[in-house]
């Protein structure tokens, strides 16, 4: 709960020992200090795709630099369209371009695509099954700027939209693989984007992205963490931590939220005696957790227990990302603590 805006934070003022974490620039890197990263994987992958496919064009709503589309703009200036800070127009014009045979790659922040431009994606693009790829930065809680920029419910909104494929990639290598894969898929796609210096996580697991496929990154006897996006990175870190305490945690990575790979999820959850935890960088309402729960219910598959790690049904606070991730329970430390608690229940 936020304190009243009329109550001064006296404990911070004139206190040399005050917390040093500050809200970073708009898009903080989610990479840890020693973590290997790759810069702007989306921008480079799209530029490479455009070399091979004349249909590819890139559209920005005044956020090229913040969606890594500036890399594409530099590589293919004549194929870059600046639509201005006008997200409705961004989606409408992409629909018009797709009707004429181009493959528009549309970029903005996830909040603006979902909340502001929903009707235009729904009717102008999805209803017509047009070949438009919508790639959006700042998914879930990846900025400390508060609710105006935190897309905590984008997946809940977009899951309800027919025809739309939804991708939530985990790391730089997955983004690089997802770009050509979703280009080859004929129809509208919404992809959550990690931009800037994006961690490299999945290569050590021999992982390859396949559209529509969930993949087991590591197996575990005691619990299975089902996750997407950056939470798969956190889940892998948590599994390593839990191992030190003798807890064997598996991680099932589900980058395609829709259509959901129910067969793989059900097969994993049907294995007896495991706690199933769904971890997502999204409100617990309407995202991967509820999608998995409904799938289990429909199929009479009963894990030992089912729990969700995700953002609360609330407008979240502003602040430094590590603080916020801890506060809302999606940091590695918090995941470890909660899974231990649940296993002790």
């Amino acid at each position: 709960m936020r304190r009243s805006k009329y109550e001064r934070p006296a404990h911070l003022i004139g206190n040399a020992e005050r917390p040093r974490l500050t809200t970073s620039a708009m898009i903080a890197s989610i990479a840890g200090a020693d973590q290997p990263t790759r810069p702007a994987p989306f921008g480079h992958a799209l530029s490479a795709l455009a070399e091979k496919d004349d249909r590819v064009v890139g559209l920005s709503a005044d956020l090229a630099k913040y969606t890594d589309l500036h890399v594409f703009r530099a590589a293919h200036p004549a194929r870059f369209y600046q639509m201005g800070m006008a997200e409705q127009l961004l989606m409408m014009s992409a629909a018009g371009m797709a009707r004429e045979g181009l493959q528009p790659w549309v970029t903005t922040y996830a909040v603006f695509a979902s909340r502001r431009a929903y009707d235009f994606i729904c009717l102008a693009i999805a209803e017509e099954m047009l070949d438009v790829k919508i790639v959006c930065a700042l998914p879930g809680l990846t900025t400390g700027y508060g609710p105006s920029h935190q897309a905590t419910e984008d997946i809940a909104m977009f899951r309800g939209m027919p025809n739309l494929t939804i991708i939530d990639p985990c790391d730089a290598s997955e983004i690089e693989q997802a770009v050509p894969a979703i280009a080859a898929h004929k129809g509208p796609v919404y992809m959550r984007l990690l931009r800037g210096n994006v961690p490299l996580v999945l290569e050590e697991y021999g992982y390859r992205f396949e559209l529509g496929k969930a993949k087991l990154l590591r197996d575990g006897r005691d619990t299975l963490i089902i996750s997407s996006g950056l939470m798969s990175m956190r889940a892998l870190e948590a599994a390593k931590e839990l191992r030190k305490d003798g807890i064997d945690a598996g991680v099932l990575h589900v980058p395609t939220i829709k259509p959901l790979d129910e067969a793989t999820i059900l097969a994993e959850c049907a294995r007896q005696g495991r706690l199933v935890v769904v971890a997502e960088n999204h409100t617990v309402i309407g995202g991967l957790g509820e999608a998995v729960a409904a799938s289990l219910m429909r199929s009479n598959v009963r894990p030992a227990a089912f729990r969700q790690i995700g953002l609360p049904d609330a407008f979240l606070q502003a602040g430094a990302l590590p603080t916020l991730h801890d506060m809302y329970g999606i940091s590695t430390t918090k995941i470890v603590t909660r899974i231990k608690e649940w296993l002790d229940e």
């Binding site: 409705q88 127009l89 409408m92 014009s93 629909a95 528009p104």
Partner: protein, 279 residues
Amino acid sequence: MAQIGHNISLPERARRIRRHALRMGEVQGQGYIAQALGIADVLAVAYFHATSYRPEEPEWEGRDRFLLSIGHYAIALYAALIEAKIIPEDELETYGTDDSRLPMSGMAAYTPGMEITGGSLGHGLGIAVGMSLALKRKGSRSFVYNLFSDGELDEGSTWEAAMSAGSYKLDNLIGIVDVNQMQADGPSLGVLNFEPLGPKFEAFGWFVQRVDGNDIDALVDAFDKARQHPDPQPRIIICDTKMAKGVHFLEARERNHFLRVEPQEWAEAIRIIDAGVTA
């Protein structure tokens, strides 16, 4: 230019479009017939003077694109597409019925010649911007026409598109606004005052003409000027039209956004339209 029927006058085309629309309205007993009667002259000039298309090949790459943003005007566009022989005339009796290719609100997936799905108002002009940009990219010389309504001037998305078209200097984009002064809640200017409309579009960088949308000679001149205008800017034809034009007892109704018409009145309306070619 349309390749068919040069011997048939534009007023006669407009009369037939009104007649087709009335016959579809009769199938449902109600509908957006006043808009159809009001815009018939614009559609006659668009389809039988201004635009290029092939009736037997509705998706011919060289066609001009004619987008209907106002989905509920579908009855009017179907009438024009029937007259243009893109849709067979005998299908009008299926208007709005289950399994018909002619649903009450226009959708691209249902109807040959229907370029976009309208109905969620304020979409057409932005889609037209994207198509115009793409046609330029392809080196096409086709025009993109977007027919939208004075009611759609309430939508912010229309103005995003208007600013973008001016910014990109889209000289292959021709907007047509039907100013019929009637919206769902009543007279348009009372719902939200969009005037002065011409100066607004001029300020957004458009070549603006404002004409009596029920004067065929004026429309022919305006469409010609819109296509031939030499400057690199989008073009708009603001058409002041009369709701239910040509059927006096429907013109006289105060609230005619969605008309309920008695069974015997349809025959009377068609008789009036048949009687006065240039009425």
